[in-house]
């Protein structure tokens, strides 16, 4: 089984548009939406939820007012400033470490499990999809990403699917690391802007750090040809293949407004054709056919 992660470093470069198009082109791949903060893929693929499970990724300290003697030991030892002046736990800051529990002289604090989000297994027109929703402000998104990928793996084996396509989150932090580790390839979607280039370089470093083979695709390449050339040169010098240059076309937004992937909405447009070509190249690279 092969796994490919679509990532970008910088947000808004077109990861989800491209992942959704891949889902259509691949026909029987498993799709994993690992952007748990802002999962948008469902708006293009319209999954029908088959299973929903609570995700308990972290704990929360709870103070029993009746036992609390207001000594402040918990506040003093908490490194996350999660206990306020009046000794109340701030759930947004609490990381559920349990230090307050052990320093409390009257055993007034306990850790309780909290539901941090939900993991879903769904069905789309183009195959199964695993995804999730992290409750706003919850931490441990890396753990939830791992769960989505685990669900995808189990399902792929059951369905005899040979490919998992992963839509990654922006950035290079914990959920991104969880999205790329163990993948066979990482497609970095970038745009020809200074920020795009800067973030592309960091995304490539990240993939190399975790031994994932990088590929690059320049989206909206015609917005700044000089920068597109810079990206090509950077990739050439670093031995990375640029597998596609997708033109800017407002039809992409139009397709999104209509809740459709670009392949369904306008199969003959320049964007759809270029994404299909990127897809074919990746398939060859991954020996999928």
């Amino acid at each position: 089984m092969k796994q490919i992660t679509v990532l970008s470093g910088k947000g808004g470069t077109g990861k989800t548009t491209i992942t959704a198009a891949f889902a259509v082109l691949a026909k029987k791949a498993l799709i994993a939406d690992c952007d748990v903060d802002a999962p948008d893929l469902h708006m293009l693929l319209h999954p029908e939820i088959l299973e929903k499970r609570e995700f308990k990724g972290s704990k929360l300290a709870v103070i029993d007012e009746a036992k609390c003697v207001k000594c402040g030991a918990c506040k003093e030892k908490c490194r996350f400033d999660a206990i306020t002046q009046i000794l109340i736990v701030d759930p947004l800051s609490c990381e559920g470490c349990g230090v307050c529990v052990v320093v409390c002289p009257t055993n007034a604090i306990t850790l309780t499990e909290r539901v941090s989000g939900y993991a879903y297994i769904s069905k789309t027109k183009y195959g199964f999809m695993t995804h999730a929703l992290l409750k706003p402000g919850e931490s441990n998104s890396g753990k939830l990403v791992s769960l989505i990928r685990q669900n995808a793996k189990v399902l792929a084996e059951k369905e005899k699917s040979n490919l998992i396509i992963i839509d990654g989150p922006p950035g290079i932090g914990c959920p991104v690391i969880a999205s790329v580790t163990g993948a066979d390839a990482g497609l970095v979607v970038t745009e020809p802007t200074l920020s795009g280039i800067h973030d592309l370089e960091r995304a490539i470093q990240l993939l190399r750090h975790f031994n994932v083979k990088p590929f690059v695709c320049v989206n909206m390449y015609d917005v700044n040809m000089d920068n597109t050339e810079k990206i090509s040169r950077f990739c050439r010098e670093n031995g990375i293949e640029v597998v596609g240059r997708i033109p800017f076309n407002s039809i992409v937004t139009e397709a999104m407004v209509n809740g459709k992937t670009i392949i369904e909405y306008s199969p003959q447009c320049d964007v759809a054709k270029e994404i299909s070509s990127v897809w074919n190249k990746l398939c060859e690279e991954l020996v999928l056919r």
Binding site: T16, L134, G171, E191, V257
Partner: protein
């Protein structure tokens, strides 16, 4: 006053708004808290005058004192410590640095050691003070670095925080303690979906908020309908224009080149002041 600039969806224009706002107002301090991908300085042609490493603490075992009792591993909620028959294994990428293991160890065999996670950089340009963090590639924990960036807040200035995308812990850490949060969105289904998630988070935090619609003219009108229903003020619209996109691609704040925009951003800041009551 501290204003955070955030958005659920990436690439909606947080950095564009944060930078243009910072260069348009008096006595600003811009802190780029998107430490995974700090981009604000790219738009400012910044000369970095100060740079220092940032560390977090992870446990280290003194094997001479350790009797492998396992209290540390039992305590650790994040499974960052594993005790095997001859040894204690530490997984730094899972450690949140709470210090609990050192506290629990009956033999005092755990000390906390410095572990570099990134850099803090500073510079000044035309009376605008810029601070940003840069997370080392491969380091998963952004939050401790964001905390360090925020320690540089100078409350005598007009502080602008450029937040990382999403609504997870890095975004919360950035926005926490601000007087106002400006949410940047684009008028598309993705933009709206992620805006709604951000609004939920900020309402939970009881944070005053307003919206900037970027790339206005593309997509549909649903973002406007949503803001009207929720009585969320739309404080600025930036049209989707090729020249704005081109200036951004070259790393130039568009308000410096296009007439009238400096005033628009000043007005935006005045509106925020009015909404905060400062």
């Amino acid at each position: 006053m501290i204003v955070a600039v955030a958005s659920g969806k990436g690439g909606t224009g947080k950095t564009t708004v944060a930078v243009n706002l910072a260069v348009s107002i008096e006595k600003a301090q811009l802190l780029d808290c998107d430490v995974e991908e700090p981009n604000a300085y790219l738009l400012l042609n910044l000369k970095i005058t100060r740079e220092e490493p940032v560390f977090r603490f992870i446990p280290s075992i003194n094997e001479d004192l350790c009797d492998l009792c396992g209290e540390c591993a039992y305590f650790c909620q994040h499974n960052a410590i594993l005790v095997i028959p001859q040894k204690v294994l530490i997984f730094p990428e899972l450690c949140h640095g709470c210090g609990g293991c050192a506290l629990m160890c009956p033999k005092k065999a755990i000390i906390e050691e410095k572990h570099k996670i990134g850099c803090l950089k500073e510079g000044c340009q035309n009376n605008l003070w810029i601070v940003f963090g840069e997370l080392d590639v491969g380091e998963p924990m952004a939050v401790p670095l964001i905390r360090e960036v925020k320690k540089r807040i100078d409350k005598t200035r007009n502080v602008i925080l450029d937040a990382p995308p999403g609504t997870g812990c890095p975004m919360i850490e950035t926005v926490k303690g601000s007087d106002f949060c400006l949410l940047i969105t684009e008028p598309t289904p993705f933009g709206l979906h992620d805006l709604k998630i951000s609004v939920t988070v900020l309402e939970d935090m009881k944070m005053p908020l307003g919206v900037v619609v970027n790339k206005a003219g593309i997509g549909d009108k649903k973002v406007y309908e949503y803001c009207r229903e929720k009585s969320i003020p739309i404080l600025l619209e930036i049209p989707y224009q090729r020249d704005i996109a081109e200036l951004y691609s070259k790393g130039i704040p568009f308000s410096l080149k296009m007439p009238g925009w400096r005033e628009e951003f000043q007005k935006l800041f005045d509106d925020i002041k009015r909404l905060v009551g400062k």
